[in-house]
Assembly symmetry: C2
């Protein structure tokens, strides 16, 4: 069965089951599902609370080599593996992130998998879905409005309007909003100040929603957000402006995980979607924990390559949520490995075993890195039709020499049938008891030392540099009681280094910390190394120009 | 039965029926309802299309005297009358507007009725509901992003960035966003320009959604939006930027009317909510038309007092949609009439028949005005416990002398039982065949003459003034083919005049047209007379500070 039709056509042709049937597979009574249409539902907070104390299933992380323009298919493999596990008789649930609207209208394709390994309804998932991101946008911007309103009405808290760090957000790629002067136009519009918008996935509210364990925890974290500083340089919290309660009200529904299905009618939780640079890039803790109560296997993914995604999954999400992953899958493609070996995108069609083996250095390092966390690894080769037998053999051979196994997976073209071998291997690893998960560093180390540990052990950097202002800031936070937080590295996703052009497995490079930011509500210190864009722009010819409703009312051009 | 508990407590105590049961009352099969939770649903576009050609029910408009801080209860009366009609055996559907998030966090209470005349679930209706406003925000801002992106990438259309009229929107009261300079920060952020945000209900996309008859019509109107002007002063349309298709995709679900229920389990359509100043202030045409196919009676409301709301309902909504209203209810309260007669808010508790009769001049004029459109009128006195018998008698007497009837209504405290008399009277009027609806002016008159007709016949103004720039602009639009559009008056809602302090029935005043704007997609010319705020601000102590989730997870402080 070859997938010669587009993702959206496959998705549209899918025979979806009513969402109550999917819920029933997991033992969720229909009254505990909050339907959004006939094919999407939220799982009620009440039902989730009632799972407390039940036994957890096995947790499998799907991560990847450093991304390239060739594409790796991490989400596709996550979805495929979920179907594969169900196929071999395991009750498995897929946990992935929600899609951002902004990129849909730019260049990026859908974020719901691909080929015969997709979650559906894909159009909804890629557009408004159940409104979670809109709720996050509203909560974020309510706080922003309350800040400027507080200053306008007399500024009792003495907020230094030059030191307001809370920006606004919009779920749109809109470079015009990156930097602005707001409150112009006279007295009735407030005090002019420098301001700007980030994309919604970059909001700390998004990170908070994805790390909160319940509504109470959510509200507490929202209150902990630092919105800026007073003239005396003390932090001002969202709680000081009494914004936390109303923000939690706006997020009440968004906190409930979303249930959808794969093309093979297996359950998938699609919930949350923080950026993987200035945030931790994982789906929500509440979705993952709920899935662990309901399934024997939970397959989840983390953003970007394993240097960013897996490290943050382990050091932030698992550490904070007390999760113990049982195995990890590292996704690679022959094409992406060849690009890591120096092949240009236009030349990927030709067999090139030599470049491939060179590029495997990238994969090899990710294997070693993931093992450092005490988690056993298997490599999934996400098959492309242009892959040659020699190339696949070379990858398998390379991985075997690193003491792991690489398994060819054809889920994109064949669905679960094409990924059975990987599913069996994952079960073998997970049930072997090999996993001895430990975060990379302890809570009690100084913040700078945590950065250095990630840089040296994961990035293979030779040195971390940070000027005095950064060091002083870290020290100040330690004094204020934030020293036990993990660090959230914001680095280019294209390289182990901070230079996006250094593919493969660079080492000895310098990681220069440009800036640090405190996400006190989310509970991590963001470490910025290089240019990090928190509000993307649209390309010259954005995909929005080609998106429309066809005569049957179906959406065209979205993917 | 006295309503001594709050609106939210009443709403929370309501015994809601599953939304599929409410739909079944109207003959909507469950598969044609798109559920949002168990108590809200959208009605599928397919089902709506299938109603084509069926007989229409009777259309009843609920309007009001000029609003005062005392409150009139127009939505409450609309909901109550719907229940009252059902009580006396008529299959009636209520059609009201959706609530904006912004005011919820400012000072305004809920927008879902009050007392025992409410639509539920009121928390949802007042917060994210089914996401329609978020979809409108997204569609509006996608167009905005595409404008700046077009300019950034070479500006092929030669858009004059000083003449971009399309702003951005947010569903929030945020004065800091009214006026700004965007695209600061260097080359990669675009060309700096003056910019700003309106609240979402002020978006032309909102007006378009509320006037569009189906998705095709929606897309056409979106394409007709004028986003600004070229250096040669020719208009640039959303279609020129190829934004209309993607905007329609974002609005696909939002175009489907929302079904909820009243406290008495009668059907209510809550859909759309354009501003009643710079837009036409009515719920969606598609909801009203669909309700007319499914009910014997459709009770709908229009924003502000009858001078703005009813006039626009008749001259814009009914004209464009071919609706023929059968009767109108003008809501008044003794308190508001006393305020119109000069009583201060703090003195409203005391009986004051003299002031009341003075204030009735306001009511008298609205009665005459509505009749001018060929629609028979009844007055609803929305009862307050402080009303005295003498005061009620005085209103009834005044109205009788104007050849109509005023009926005391106790729906707020008693539900449908308290509004039976009004329901019977409405049926009598609607079935009398008296209604001979005609808009106030013909399509073919010059735009300025249309303004003059509204000003003289509805506002009783002595004169309309407009400087040369305004007159030239109107003439230019007539030349460009926009002369047949109706005018949409943006005037203070507090007075027949443009001075909010002139209560009662002023006459001979001057209406000064400050500015005119073309809403080419919505299909009207906005005529601005006085200060019109399209982005509200928050008060010193916004209600957001008192909104939170209580220990049971219920929302407190919203109302």
């Amino acid at each position: 069965m070859a997938a010669i039709i587009s993702d959206i056509e496959i998705a549209r042709a899918a025979t979806k089951k009513p969402i109550f049937e999917i819920g029933a597979k997991l033992g969720i009574p229909s009254e505990q599902l909050v339907p959004y249409g006939h094919d999407k539902a939220k799982i009620s907070a009440e039902f989730i609370a009632a799972q407390e104390g039940k036994k957890d299933g096995k947790l499998i992380l799907v991560t990847a080599i450093n991304p390239t323009p060739a594409g790796e298919g991490k989400t596709t493999t996550t979805v495929g593996l979920g179907d594969g596990l169900n196929r071999i008789g395991k009750k498995a649930i897929v946990c992935i992130r929600e899609a951002s609207l902004g990129p849909c209208f730019g260049v990026k394709g859908g974020a719901a998998g691909g080929g015969y390994a997709q979650v559906v309804p894909m159009e909804d998932i890629n557009l408004h879905f159940t409104g979670d991101f809109h709720a996050i946008t509203s909560a974020h911007n309510l706080l922003a409005a309350m800040i400027d309103n507080h200053i306008y009405w007399g500024n009792e808290e003495n907020i230094d309007l030059r030191r307001v760090t809370w920006r606004r957000v919009m779920d749109m790629n809109d470079r015009a909003l990156r930097s602005m002067v707001s409150s112009l136009g006279g007295v009735s519009n407030g005090f002019p100040r420098q301001n700007g918008f980030d994309i919604t996935v970059a909001s700390e509210v998004m990170a908070i929603l994805c790390l909160a364990t319940d509504l109470r925890d959510l509200e507490r974290r929202l209150g902990d957000i630092i919105i800026g500083y007073r003239f005396d340089k003390t932090p001002v919290y969202a709680r000081d402006l009494k914004a936390d309660g109303a923000m939690a009200v706006l997020l009440k529904d968004a906190m409930q995980p979303n249930l959808v299905q794969t093309l093979e009618n297996n359950p998938a939780f699609v919930h949350g979607g923080p950026f993987a640079n200035i945030a931790h890039g994982c789906n929500s803790v509440i979705a993952t924990k709920t899935a662990l109560k309901l399934g024997e296997y939970v397959v989840t993914e983390a953003g970007f390559g394993a240097d960013l995604g897996a490290e943050k999954f382990f050091d932030i999400k698992c550490r904070k949520a007390g999760l113990k992953p049982n195995a990890a899958v590292i996704v690679a493609t022959v094409r992406a490995l060849k690009m890591n070996g120096g092949v240009k995108k236009d030349d990927l069609g030709a067999e090139n075993v030599q470049a491939l083996v060179r590029g495997c250095s990238n994969l090899g390092r990710h294997i070693a890195n993931v093992r450092r966390f005490g988690v056993p690894v298997v490599v999934a080769i996400n098959h492309f039709t242009s892959d040659t037998d020699a190339e696949i053999a070379a990858v398998k051979d390379f991985v075997a020499r690193h003491g792991a196994e690489a398994i060819l997976c054809r889920h994109w073209a064949e669905g679960s049938e094409g990924i059975e071998d990987l599913a069996y291997k994952v079960v073998e690893l997970a049930e072997s008891g090999q996993a001895k998960f430990e975060p990379l560093y302890g809570d009690d180390l100084p913040l700078l030392e945590k950065i250095e540990i990630v840089a040296s052990k994961i990035y293979y950097a030779g040195e971390v540099t940070a000027d005095k202002a950064v060091r002083d800031q870290l020290a100040a936070w330690e004094e204020q009681g934030y020293g036990k937080l993990p660090v959230c590295m914001a680095k280019t996703q294209y390289s182990f280094s901070t230079d996006p052009n250094l593919r493969g497995a660079p080492e000895g490079h310098i990681v220069s910390v440009r800036e640090v930011r405190l996400s006190a509500g989310a509970g991590f210190v963001v470490v910025i190394t290089g240019e990090i864009m928190t509000m993307p722009g649209l390309p010259k010819s954005p995909s929005a120009e080609r998106i429309y409703l066809n005569d049957q009312g179906y959406i065209e051009g979205l993917f």
